[in-house]
Symmetry: C2
Subunit: 455 residues, 2 copies
Amino acid sequence: MTHQDTLDRIDHYLDDHLEEFIAGLARLCAQPSVSTQNVGITECAQLVAEMLREHGYQAELLPSAGFPIVYGEGAGRGDKTLLFYLHYDVQPAEPLELWESPPFTLTRRGDNLYARGVADDKGHIITRLAGLAAVRHALGELPCRVKFIIEGEEEMGSPSMASFIEGHQEMLAADGCVWEFGGVNYDGAPIQVLGMRGICYVELVAKTANQDAHSGLGGSIFPNAAWRLVWALNTLKDQDERILIPGFYDAVQPPTPYDLELLARLPDDAEKTKEMYGLKGFLKGMAGVELRRAAVFEPTCTICGLDSGYQGPGSKTVLPAEARAKVDFRLIPNQSPDDILAKLRAHLDAQGFGDIEIVYHGGTRPARTDPNHPFVQLTNETAAEVYGQEMVVSPLSGGSGPNYPFVHTLRLPVVATGVGYPGGRVHAPNEHIRLHDFIQGIRHTARIVEAFGRM
Amino acid sequence: MTHQDTLDRIDHYLDDHLEEFIAGLARLCAQPSVSTQNVGITECAQLVAEMLREHGYQAELLPSAGFPIVYGEGAGRGDKTLLFYLHYDVQPAEPLELWESPPFTLTRRGDNLYARGVADDKGHIITRLAGLAAVRHALGELPCRVKFIIEGEEEMGSPSMASFIEGHQEMLAADGCVWEFGGVNYDGAPIQVLGMRGICYVELVAKTANQDAHSGLGGSIFPNAAWRLVWALNTLKDQDERILIPGFYDAVQPPTPYDLELLARLPDDAEKTKEMYGLKGFLKGMAGVELRRAAVFEPTCTICGLDSGYQGPGSKTVLPAEARAKVDFRLIPNQSPDDILAKLRAHLDAQGFGDIEIVYHGGTRPARTDPNHPFVQLTNETAAEVYGQEMVVSPLSGGSGPNYPFVHTLRLPVVATGVGYPGGRVHAPNEHIRLHDFIQGIRHTARIVEAFGRM
């Protein structure tokens, strides 16, 4: 059988079984699994394990520090192993009134499939199962071993993932990993993201009294929690966006010339972004490659929220006893949230803000896959075949995720390909995927598996 | 008739008519008049005018830029005129569930009278009417002309008072003014406040986009409204409490040696205050006269509220498009809110914060009455007679009020005596006065009028 025969058999299988895959997707989307609300989690984990078994894989629910993790594996020819990372939990469906069809009922309107989780991430679970089924049909067996790690806490920041992987390295040993997201950009070109920034999310809390005071009484003699907070925040970053915590940048690895080359090849969507957000411009007037570099290769210190005293209409003459700021540090290789947390504490103490409490709301470490890794090259080639366009490769994403233990503990190259597109309203009402993207995502998954077996 | 006879006749009259005064107070408190909610305002103004007429005064409702002002006047012996400033509006009664009796039903429990507005300020309206009635009874006629200006916007910051007085100077001409509040301290000593700080209340608004962004997307390239606000606020005041707006202190008049002497005589309630608010200490470790001086003779810049982005539990990775701070400047003679507002705008512009919008929520100018004025001396003496204790005289209050046009437009000495005590829960549920304070407040009002006639 020629290679082309194999590919033809894959495509025919997919054509013949599309309605079956859509039915599987409907079944999975019908089971709510909202991790932040602890709704339907175990039921969904059990359903996913059952569906893996129906596809011929061994599957079980393994305990983690949080919600159960579905682990699955299947035999295949050769000595290579491909690991699929996915998640079965979804974002809350609220606000419900903005959905045009019930969020937990897969609904087809036109060429789109709507449901909470259809893109993030249940569509990818089905995509992997469908792609693998096609390859097995075409070759008679899988060309490699496969493993699945499907967690239920991704929408909560994957707090249990690093320790789970630490404790299951042998079980999870593999040669490559396919990530849980991916898809095409607005131009229809396949996109690849080869790393994620880390995050260290804290809340700074100033407390100066046991109750608010009248501003006429205390204004010039009471400590003011809001002022303490403003002054403390001001020591964290200057108006040139330089983060002032000593040692903050110590571990930062600058982008390589090849990273900059990849950034230069990315489409320029700066004007589109400016228009969407109504921005007068970007920080420091940045544009082009410099803007794209800063967007991902600069670590950040973002105030996500401020909360103190009176916030209603008009005026209230109150002196606040408490003030809070949510602050999100995005980290780039090789920064780590533990280290940044310790440096933040030391900095605040040194600046005279020992009274400011730091509440740690979680973090992940940054991690990247080498853009020159053969598995990345393989994926670029299969994508070009399937989509008829060169893959648009981002060396690093601005967002964060649990890829660090995959890259650094399991030492895997990680590629991200999937069924999404920028208009899919992920995390929002009317989340959807386009049917064509679903089919292409399955085809691409099948081709990656087929090529991985020959690698 | 000897002077002592007059005083005896006053006291007997008060003894005989106490239940009548309490009935009048009940009638007034039964009429809700919440200015900030626009509830019952005109009805209450009409009721007050009616009660003035029942006491033999001419009274009418005069239009102002806002709610109607009740103006009343009555004839008397001699060529002197005493003006009473009062207000008929009250704070909202909410939270209703914390009231032990209906807020708009005067309720006597033990030796206390409970109702919204019983202390602030309807008790004072009745106190003035009752004291004047006693004097008229004792002397056959009033020893001076009297005028009443009773507004309905005091709880909103008296926005119409200055312009109303500006336009009615002849009508309001007088030789002395009795203010709307006063009473005794925790030791039972009568208190006198001879001035009020001004206020300039603003909201600073930073807007950087038309919608919040994901912090992973925008953290290092989007302007962040919360950061803009923090940086702008930080330029307003340093950690040594020095306000950094150029020219801010230009008009400030330092306290005189006599002011400091009056401050030195005030009881030291610093420990009580520290305990009540759970403070570790006062700013800069201040204590004693220095603390009392700073509490009133320093202008302030107080952050009353901060509002931006996500403020719920846990973390949300959002980059805020908007951030707001409520800021309250307390002003001391001879600062003015217009001048401070202009200087604030110029300062923000000069510091590169032309993008920060200033929303002005109102202001009043500071004003003081000379502690050596004969009318103040007269009040000190009548207080000592009625209360059996020396009056505790504050040269300036930390709070603010509409006294500027009385002091500077009408050129009146203003004294503040009344029926309150520190435990009266003014502005809070279960607002009350003590019956004994009510009686003493009426006696004192009567003695001031009687002595003013002889001045």
